[in-house]
């Protein structure tokens, strides 16, 4: 099922949690909502589910306007951050709940419900745990039961709020791969919220980066990482270093020296230069480069990170060096970003 969010605004007692958000979700897509705490991810997810009503704007399921439909009518599978499993029901009863509360002919027989529950437990690799209670499961198992329960109603869209948020790193990685497999097997249109960028970039077909109630950028992992379209995305996704610079005569300047980067199309004036710490070329002698003194150095796995103080303002930037690179020992290092981007100063 395609989902279209059209110009949605959501206010809580006048506080805008979402401001004019539009998003097209393709049928069968696995899409991640990524952003810092308070950026409106959960709010957007709850709006799609129908747990909240938009202050303005509409949400379409396929061609149909779903904005005024109740959550029951929308037929969405929602997996809550803390699972919200019914603690007094067994695993099988939890999974069968959505079928049991149906009315009339669409309600399967008790036997059929049990069969469906077992089938889904099988899918989430928990066969044999039908009779357990949620309290008797590990965090990862609860997570999977919650997903099975949401899938039992054959939802039009699957919505997951920080599905792995409460789990430790090891289990997270396992479940991540597993969710991808399940998604590929069942083909549900799936939206999941996360503030773990590694998770979003690795798992999702497309990533929606949010900040302060707005969508900053939507794209594949490559697009988001390689061509961030705003200072926020550059800073938020992956590691980045930034420096205040000046654009003049199609050249990038730091203080009164050009740094050897030409920007013929950038607007004149103050700007901020962004680059990735690992995406730099070290240069020997500096005519047209960025040079600084090493202020700090630390070992990160197979590389070394050095923090440089640049120019009279003593701006700090971080770059990455091979561990055995001689420059790492020097106090003065000169480099030039290989890939970089300029944003006009705010």
């Amino acid at each position: 099922m395609e989902v279209r969010v059209a110009n949605v605004r959501k206010e809580f007692e006048r506080f805008p949690a979402l401001r004019d958000v539009s998003l097209d979700i393709k049928s069968g897509e696995l899409i991640a909502l990524l952003g810092p705490s308070g950026s409106g991810k959960t709010t957007l997810l709850r709006l799609i589910a129908g747990l909240e009503r938009p202050t303005r704007g509409k949400i379409f399921f396929g061609e149909e306007d779903a904005s005024q439909k109740s959550i029951q009518e929308r037929n969405v599978g929602f997996v809550f951050q803390h699972y919200a499993l019914f603690r007094h029901m067994t695993v099988a009863d939890n999974i069968g709940f959505g079928l049991k509360v149906r009315h009339g002919p669409s309600r399967p027989s008790a036997k059929e419900i049990r069969r469906r529950a077992s089938e889904l437990l099988n899918l989430v690799q928990l066969s044999g745990l039908e009779k357990r209670y949620p309290a008797q499961l590990s965090g990862g198992q609860r997570q999977r039961v919650a997903l099975a329960r949401a899938m039992a109603i054959e939802p039009a869209v699957l919505l997951l709020d920080e599905p792995f948020g409460a789990l430790d790193a090891q289990v997270r990685r396992e479940l991540r791969r597993w969710l991808r497999d399940i998604h590929d097997a069942t083909g549900h249109t799936t939206v999941f919220v996360t503030h773990d960028q590694e998770e979003a970039l690795e798992l999702a077909d497309r990533v929606v980066v949010m900040s302060q109630g707005r969508i900053e950028q939507v794209g594949t992992a490559d697009e988001i990482y390689d061509t961030p379209n705003s200072p926020f995305v550059y800073g938020f996704i992956g590691e980045s270093s930034s420096l205040p610079v000046k654009v003049e005569d199609g050249q990038v300047w730091i203080a009164d020296r050009p740094i050897g980067l030409s920007a013929p199309h950038a607007p004149q004036g103050e700007a901020t230069l962004f680059f990735r710490p690992h995406d730099v070329d070290l240069v020997e002698e500096c005519n047209g480069c960025i040079a600084g003194t090493v202020a700090a150095s630390r070992r990160v796995a197979g590389t070394r990170r050095v923090e440089l103080e640049i120019g009279g303002e003593r701006q700090r930037v971080e770059i990455e060096l091979p561990v055995d690179h001689p420059a790492a020992q020097k106090t003065r290092v000169a480099f030039r970003p290989r890939r970089w981007k300029l944003f006009p100063a705010a």
Binding site: A49, N75, G77, A84, F86, F97
Partner: protein, 294 residues
């Protein structure tokens, strides 16, 4: 000098922080005071009630209880409890639901209002009904014209009892429901349940122990209420006397044995309630937010 100090920090009090560990003498004194107090003011009266009740033997005891006026008082008490407890369960659940799960103006006020019967003397509660429904009361003339009798009759007693017992269930459920939040209900709704199904299959089972606990306390109070009921009942023997009122009448007539016989039933009820309450707390202490003083 140092010796007693060291003793007071002996390892078997590890669970207490050293700062609050009093010296052994202080602790012993406190315990003695507490137990003496409990013994004199709670246990002793209870023993006396039963001793007096059986002072003239089992026969006199059963005879006192089978006396028609006494039986009528027992029946009335059961009736009043049977009406007011379900009413307050309904009210308590609705109020707790509204307060715990919705945001609305005047919520704090409503919460305070629920506690009113605890903070006002039961006699005043009774008097309010007299002022409302009495012959000279606000609605007195209208009621009389329509032939409706409330005061000095069963309806008045039920109303007064409902009033004094209505915080019990609500107060038990509000913190419980607040703590549980909306998550489970939202999950139920997202799975297609309607509001009633969400309540029946999810909310109610989640609070059942707290609810039972509230019902227990509500029932004990409904059967034992004296002040408010005394004002509105009119003390008509065999008609509007509940057990507590009947005890007083018998006692005033110097019929101590009968008075204590009926009193022993109430005391028995209190004991049963206490035992059940303790069992519930032991078993479901975490679910019953047992931090409030009853």
């Amino acid at each position: 000098m140092a010796d007693p100090e060291i003793k007071s920090y002996a390892p078997h009090h590890e669970s207490q922080s050293p700062a609050v560990t009093e010296s052994r003498t202080a602790r012993t004194v406190l315990m003695i005071v507490t137990f003496a107090f409990l013994g004199i003011f709670l246990l002793l009266p209870l023993i006396i009630v039963f001793k007096e009740a059986f002072a003239k033997g089992i026969e006199a005891y059963t005879q006192a209880l089978s006396e028609p006026d006494t039986r009528s008082a027992i029946r009335l008490t059961l009736l009043v409890a049977a009406i007011s407890v379900p009413l307050n369960v309904t009210f308590g659940i609705s109020a707790a639901w509204a307060i715990a799960k919705f945001e609305f103006k005047g919520k704090a006020f409503l919460t305070t209002l629920i506690d009113l019967p605890f903070s006002v003397s039961p006699v005043i509660s009774g008097l309010v009904y007299v002022l409302l429904f009495g012959a000279q009361g606000l609605l007195g003339a209208w009621l009389k014209a329509h032939g409706i009798v409330i005061l000095f009759a069963v309806p008045g007693i039920v109303l007064a009892t409902v009033f004094v017992t209505f915080p019990f269930v609500a107060r038990e459920l509000i913190p419980l429901m607040q703590e549980q939040g909306n998550g489970d209900e939202e999950a139920a709704l997202s799975l297609g349940a309607n509001g009633w199904q969400a309540f029946w299959y999810v909310t109610l089972p989640n609070v059942k122990w707290g609810l039972l606990y509230g019902v227990l306390l509500c029932n004990a109070r409904a059967m034992g209420e004296f002040g408010a009921v005394s004002v509105v009942s009119g003390h008509i023997r065999g008609l509007t006397n509940t057990m507590p009122l009947h005890v007083e009448i018998l006692y005033n007539e110097y019929n101590a044995a009968a008075a204590f016989a009926v009193a022993s039933l109430l005391a028995g009820l209190a004991l049963v309630t206490l035992v059940l309450k303790t069992l519930l707390e032991m078993r479901y202490g975490a679910e019953i937010a047992a931090t409030r003083g009853h």
